[in-house]
Subunit: 347 residues, 2 copies
């Protein structure tokens, strides 16, 4: 049996194809009696509207695009996995699909936008890795393309909450502030921070949280702030210098850095009773070695991104509209050094 279409269904039911289309797209406009009959026939025949035909007519593909960023250190790949998965599921629930593409640079990404919009009729995009002076958001705004980003628009002058485009982000600063507070509660006063060079929005944000906590406690010390490029060895070196400067604990901008710091601390003296290194992102590595880490609610962020994006696409009135700007609080995954190895995993 050939695949059912509007016409084939209409003929076999003795109604016009329009009626069937209405049953699907505007059920309220059809008399309940015939609607039921049609719905039954639809289920019976396994009829499914063709995406291509629909897309040709409506110029909408029900597809969202997302660029797969170049794989860097891989340690955060697991985050990407969780993010993509949650994104896909949330999109699927709203009848959207995710189309993947890759681009080497932001310029290239914009070129891909054009292509995907022109030929594939993508309905919108999910952006990640927003940064200072992002050309991508500028282009999308200018061309009035629906999109939402995971990450605030980082700007020195403008309030992200007054941004023109929807975004969802995690409040990294609140996370490091909380982590620092915890270390303060445990009696530490010389608490260092190992982060990235100034300029990356997320990195600066995390550093600020650490600084705020120390300033509030009146123990802020400028020299306990180290900026290095991400990586385990860099974290270890940075921690060594901090230890030399008197630090008894550190908060880090990533788990990679924290892992290095942890090794530096453990090789210097006996493991303290309480964990004194806190990482960021709560990667599996952290879980594996018993490293406390600031955890991003990544699944929730993904769902929110899809929600705000699909809302934009549905063109509903602003009433009942989800928040356009969402700053989610992270949580602190507290761990003690892995119990299996007696005096701790790295001890």
């Amino acid at each position: 049996m050939a695949k059912a279409t509007l016409v084939s269904l209409a003929e076999s039911l003795g109604v016009s194809r329009q009626t069937i289309s209405n049953v699907i797209n505007a059920p309220h406009r059809v008399k309940p009696e015939t609607r039921l009959r049609v719905e039954h026939a639809i289920a019976e025949s396994g009829y499914r509207p063709s995406a291509a035909a629909r897309q040709l007519r409506t110029r909408r593909s029900m597809n969202l695009g997302i660029r797969l960023m170049p794989v860097v250190d891989g340690i955060n790949g697991s985050i990407l996995d969780r993010f993509l998965h949650a994104l896909t599921e949330a999109a699927q629930e709203d009848s959207y699909r995710l189309t993947l593409f890759s681009a080497a640079t932001d310029d290239d990404e914009v070129r891909q936008y054009e292509e995907l919009l022109n030929v594939s009729d993508l309905d919108g995009f999910v952006l990640t890795g927003t940064h200072h002076g992002d050309q991508r958001t500028a282009w999308l705004l200018e061309n009035e393309i629906p999109f939402a980003s995971f990450g605030r628009p980082w700007s020195d002058t403008e309030d992200p909450f007054s941004s023109l485009h929807p975004w969802v982000d995690v409040d990294g600063g609140a996370g490091t502030q909380q982590a620092t507070g915890l270390l303060l509660d445990q009696g530490h006063t010389a608490i260092g921070f190992i982060g990235w060079p100034a300029g990356s929005g997320a990195g600066d944000d995390r550093r600020d949280g650490w600084r705020r906590a120390l300033q509030a406690a009146g123990v802020f010390a400028d020299q306990l702030d180290v900026a290095v490029n991400d990586g385990v060895p860099a974290g270890a070196r940075a921690a060594e210098s901090l230890i030399a400067a008197g630090a008894t604990a550190v908060v880090c901008a990533s788990d990679s850095l924290a892992l290095g710091a942890l090794s530096a601390f453990r090789s210097q003296h006996r493991a303290p009773a309480t964990p004194n290194v806190i990482g960021f992102d709560d990667t599996p590595v952290a879980a594996a070695v018993g490293l406390s880490s600031i955890a991003q609610p990544i699944e929730e962020a993904a769902r929110d991104i899809i929600r705000v994006l699909t809302h934009t696409l549905s063109g509903d009135a602003d009433a009942g509209r989800p928040d356009k700007h969402l700053l989610l609080p992270p949580t602190l995954a507290q761990r003690v050094p892995h119990p299996l190895a007696g005096n701790g995993w790295l001890g």
Copy 2:
């Protein structure tokens, strides 16, 4: 200026739209002279054929589907990241896109196939996580849907190389065999294996490699084979029992297990001069702690999968056809315990 279409181009050039279509899809059928003229006009106007219209006519979407498996322990998420990325890039080079979907079970995955084929005209699928008695491959074969899997068809009776569908896999057994050989060369004779319970194709394959190496060396000992569920603590416990049984080194089916084993070894006695624990997958965790690990050529596998799949889709003759079944050799990433921590990362 409105977007260029076949008709708009045809009118402005004084040719029929069919000629333009031919220039794009069958250039050889057009007189070089007019072809050049048309090509110029195409570039000029920035004309791009509409995917929807094309799809409606040809019933092909130039889209490949891939299911995002449920996130499990996350430690392998980084592998997925690399795999997806390579897949996307390779597909893109052949003008294909990747469409993501998620499914809770294999049954659900098959249901999604139907949907994606019927409504979205997906051209083919990439499968991962093949296993014994896989219903998905059976369904796809029966319905003659093009697909390729990352992972052999695991069967007790049939030779995977005579399988009906294309697949690409990594020869895990060769990897563990090589790793075991290395440990033998280093003087170890009591080499244990920590793997998963029998039944998972990949796990059994890895165990076999270890066994082969030991048997060839005449030092195979049944009691040094431990099967547990994946995880760091489980790996540590398993290693402890192996140590008690006299093992001086172990090969593991995953980095999680290896990480646990490493901690068990290090807490028992001084770190040996040579690494004596070898993991599998070469995850960032392994790199971070200086754990030797068997590395899968995941990017190459992804490219091969796309190659064989797109070849199938292009319907070319078998001449010049890429190998339908590809077993790639892994490599051994040899590492010494991280130098930063003096006597080793976990020591």
